[in-house]
């Protein structure tokens, strides 16, 4: 993949148009992109705007410009700065939803397996594995000092004698270490069917094929239990 001087991947104009059309076809698009006053209220309240070259006002302006090249310019790193807090949606006087538009663009990016999405999501694979294979995103045994050294020395508390400390939590569903709660296999199996039918497994196969294989092995094991 080649990149221009702004770090945006170089693709044909037809491809840019195809991506923009795909975004506009999403059933939420019209609801999220209304008229933009260019007032910048959304950007004023946007948390990552303080740390990144990122502005929800630009997201709306680019969409309203109807120029596929401007929308394409956001498809690499730009859209991944968003915190998905929806401050913009709450305060926009025109009731636009820039965070929602970003979600639509991100969906396209992972569905099509863009290199930028793969790169951004690479360190995220452990979380994806937990969620898609077991139905829980965060488990107690993930809170380890080597993964969260910046959370301070007390993080070690959670990794010592963890099974015993979890047993001391007075909710029987929580007395496990490898999941946030002990998810019943029948719930996991239903989740797998949902992921298959909704195309979620397919997305993971596109964005991280080796992770997908690991997940499918677990799915097969749980289903055969």
């Amino acid at each position: 993949m080649e990149y221009d001087e702004n770090g945006v991947s170089i693709v044909s104009n037809d491809f840019k148009k195809e991506i923009f059309e795909e975004a506009k076809k999403d059933f939420r698009y019209e609801e999220y992109v209304r008229g933009c006053l260019n007032c910048g209220v959304c950007t004023g309240g946007c948390p990552p705007h303080r740390f990144f070259d990122f502005s929800p006002r630009m997201v709306l302006q680019n969409c309203k410009s109807n120029d596929p090249a401007l929308v394409w310019g956001m498809m690499d790193e730009y859209i991944w700065a968003c915190f998905q807090c929806f401050t913009c949606a709450m305060i926009c006087p025109f009731l636009n939803n820039p965070g929602g538009v970003i979600a639509i663009l991100r969906e396209i990016s992972v569905r099509r397996g863009f290199e930028s999405a793969k790169k951004v999501l690479k360190p995220y694979s452990r979380v994806l594995l937990k969620l898609t294979a077991y139905g829980n995103q965060l488990s107690p045994d993930m809170i380890q000092p080597d993964f969260f050294p910046d959370w301070g020395p007390h993080i070690g508390y959670a990794s010592q004698d963890l099974p015993l400390k979890r047993k001391a939590i007075p909710m029987p569903t929580l007395q496990v270490t490898n999941l946030a709660w002990d998810v019943a296999p029948e719930a996991m199996k239903e989740l797998y069917t949902i992921f298959e039918e909704a195309g979620v497994f397919k997305i993971i196969e596109v964005v991280d094929p080796s992770l997908y294989e690991i997940i499918q092995d677990i799915v097969d094991d749980v289903r055969s239990e």
Binding site: R50, Q84, C85, Q137, W151, M171, A180, A187, E190
Partner: protein
């Protein structure tokens, strides 16, 4: 019982008849929900007298019924995995009040944390997971009580999308039939903090300590009040109805001070993906935009939250701030944990503050809670468990 409300530092007890609606369109989705039910398109999980509902007002002054019993706990993966005192404190109160509830294994996460972090899902996937979990509650004859703010925001959004889009309903119904379930939608999407809010005066009757010298600062969760804002509780007697009332309401009812700070509306810095894989953004935001203003402007003793991600982000990111000269520190806990603490719940066994990173001991000492005794008892309890004794649980689980 009359509760004396003190709030020398803040705006929390300002009263007004003015309602803040910020020019939003006013559409009440509930009429369409009932029309779809009448047409046989969906089933609705109704809130009936059996649920002993208490009414609250939302942003536009609409009434929202909050069921107070016969509840199905829809847990949060972040809370259960990392802040266990959060759900335990809630169940502890429910046991005190004789609330009927079920906490069980047959549920999955809402998967929305993952969606907002990675986009590796879509509206069909999210809505199907929501309906699957709602249906489980429905078949048990219970009403779902949502623990996590992101689940709450996601479920409000999925409820609306399902009501507004026939194609989505048809697709989700097709998937539900494959797993032997039906398309059901709850009459209201109810967050645990709303249960705490409507129960706040009952909760305050259990108060064991005087909190008049305790200064709280409230961090409202974005996915509670910024996603589908019309569904959130506002009260003209709390911040003059200009900010969501939950969490502040229970802190005031307990007699604590609620102090204002300039960045109250900012998010916590969680970012969904950032907290896991781009943490420098999260921690800078925590220290600059939340903790420092809470301490410098409000002299806060405790930050009160109403969500999983906010509690984690605000608590866990203070230690590293010291390396950059951020000396301000404030303990962080959810409204229900703070309430349990001051109503006499055990610091270790129930509120489980031992998992928290930022030091909460000075707060306990200021309130007058003997955390050292609690620690000794907890350590002795761990030894009993190690020797093979059965755990003391809040409920029996088959």
């Amino acid at each position: 019982m009359t509760i004396e409300i003190r709030n020398r530092l803040g705006l929390a007890d300002v009263k007004s008849d003015f309602r803040h609606i910020a020019g939003r369109k006013i559409e009440n989705i509930h009429n369409e929900l009932l029309e779809l039910e009448a047409k046989g398109e969906i089933k609705v999980i109704h809130i009936t007298d059996e649920h002993k509902p208490i009414e609250a007002e939302t942003l536009f002054g609409w009434k929202k019924k909050i069921p107070t019993t016969k509840l199905w706990h829809h847990k949060s993966c972040g809370q259960c995995g990392n802040i266990p005192g959060y759900p335990v404190s809630l169940l502890w109160f429910m046991n005190k009040f004789g609330t009927e509830y079920v906490d069980e294994r047959n549920q999955t996460s809402c998967t929305a944390w993952n969606y907002h972090g990675s986009a590796t899902s879509n509206p069909v996937g999210l809505a199907a997971v929501a309906v699957r979990n709602w249906h489980r509650s429905y078949e048990l004859g219970l009403f779902p009580l949502i623990h996590c703010a992101t689940s709450f925001g996601d479920y409000k959004e999925m409820r609306n999308l399902l009501i507004e889009n026939k194609e989505l309903r048809d697709e989700v119904r097709r998937i539900m039939h494959k797993i032997g379930r039906e398309l059901v939608i709850p009459e209201e999407i109810v967050h645990y903090s709303e249960w705490v809010h409507v129960m706040r005066f009952e909760i305050a009757k259990l108060r064991k300590y005087d909190l008049s010298n305790i200064i709280t600062t409230v961090h409202p969760a974005c996915h509670c009040y910024k996603m589908i804002p019309e569904d959130c509780i506002y009260d003209k007697d709390i911040y003059a109805g200009k900010r969501t009332a939950v969490s502040t309401g229970v802190a005031l009812a307990l007699g604590a001070q609620v102090a204002d700070y300039s960045t109250w509306y900012d998010c916590c810095g969680f970012g969904f993906r950032h907290i896991l894989t781009e943490r420098e953004a999260s921690r800078s935001f925590v220290m600059d935009r939340k903790i420092r203003p809470m301490v410098r402007e409000a002299n806060s003793d405790v930050c009160i939250t109403q969500d999983t991600g906010c509690t984690t982000t605000l608590d866990k990111n203070q230690w590293i701030g010291k390396a950059m000269g951020y000396t301000e520190q404030v303990p962080v806990m959810a409204d229900v944990m703070f309430a349990a603490l001051v109503c006499g719940a055990d610091v270790y066994k129930i509120v489980q503050l031992q998992w928290h990173t930022t030091d909460w001991r000075p707060l306990c000492e200021k309130i007058g809670i003997d955390w050292k005794k609690s620690e000794e008892e907890y350590n002795a309890y761990l030894e009993k468990l190690r020797a093979g004794e059965k755990p003391e649980n809040l409920y029996e689980y088959a």
